[in-house]
Symmetry: C2
Subunit: 209 residues, 2 copies
Amino acid sequence: MSENNHTVWHNGYLTMGKRNRLNQHDSGVIWFTGLSASGKSTIAHLIEKRLFNDGIRAYVFDGDNIRHGLNSNLGFSTEDRKENIRRIVEVAKLFVDAGVIVLTAFITPLKEQREFIRDRFKGIKFIEVYVKCCIQECLKRDPKGLYKKAQEEIISNYTGISSPYDIPENPNLVIDTEKLSIEESVSAVLDYIGETDFLGLKKYHTLKT
Amino acid sequence: MSENNHTVWHNGYLTMGKRNRLNQHDSGVIWFTGLSASGKSTIAHLIEKRLFNDGIRAYVFDGDNIRHGLNSNLGFSTEDRKENIRRIVEVAKLFVDAGVIVLTAFITPLKEQREFIRDRFKGIKFIEVYVKCCIQECLKRDPKGLYKKAQEEIISNYTGISSPYDIPENPNLVIDTEKLSIEESVSAVLDYIGETDFLGLKKYHTLKT
């Protein structure tokens, strides 16, 4: 196994494009941003399921699988929140390279963070979805009782209570979960995906025929 | 969107098993360990390609895509090497959950690291492949000139020179790249995968017929 041999063999490795062709759809990122309890994770998981039923490889990153695993050694300091997002972005890039549609469900409260994210995905299909819901409604929903704890100052730096959420200025899509049901929210995202041919299905269909 | 609604909709989400059925193969980890220049990455990439040609979703993690992205903020201290491996393991778990065969090409020099890894993949299909090649031969190959730099002490803590490599005691497979050509090495791993039905193909074939 000479050095030259190494070099020769390294040519022709797999690319995202080849993986996309195997899957018959493009890969990319759908980044959901919004307050806790706005509905990000629920919507993302339902879209994942709907896509899966159509044979589309999709995968949700959310607090459940990221905060308990890869980012279990990070807290909620400014520094740690930055590193949290950085790692998520890097893993998402690997998934996209592997041919998967990544759906992320993280609050991503700061304009600065979202600009960093968009910048890191340059050259990759990317949609920012703002899951809109006012803080009063989120407080009412409070499925995990965390807003209550934040109000009682048991939890500090909680987005919407003791930490800011910058309203997205130019999201690709706004889903208002105070006005839309879950079903309607999911359909709105899927409609957008379809209208923009985010999955590149037309291309693969053309190739087939 | 009531709290109850949230709970209801969270049921029935996708599982690894469902993704495996879509792909028609199991997911799991093939962890290559061995000295730098032993041939880990070359072999892993060729297996990835061979599997891909058979419609198997596989993905290589190596220094190129991990050290420059997710783990770009880690150095080579004991602490950082530990964190390097921990993150790779966590990302591999996400890929396996997403239905992908993960092939890792990292030196993984310490017995302790490899025990940690095996333990973290309990309940997941896992193979440890020791890519065997003596240090003298690796020094001769030295495709990136790093051994030379390590000998000249320009690089410190280099595995095999100034940092230990614990010979694996119970690898699932040993690939001796001093005796086998690249082609033979790749075939040996693929044969092992086939013989042990690592991809679970028999199961899916049975389901089909």
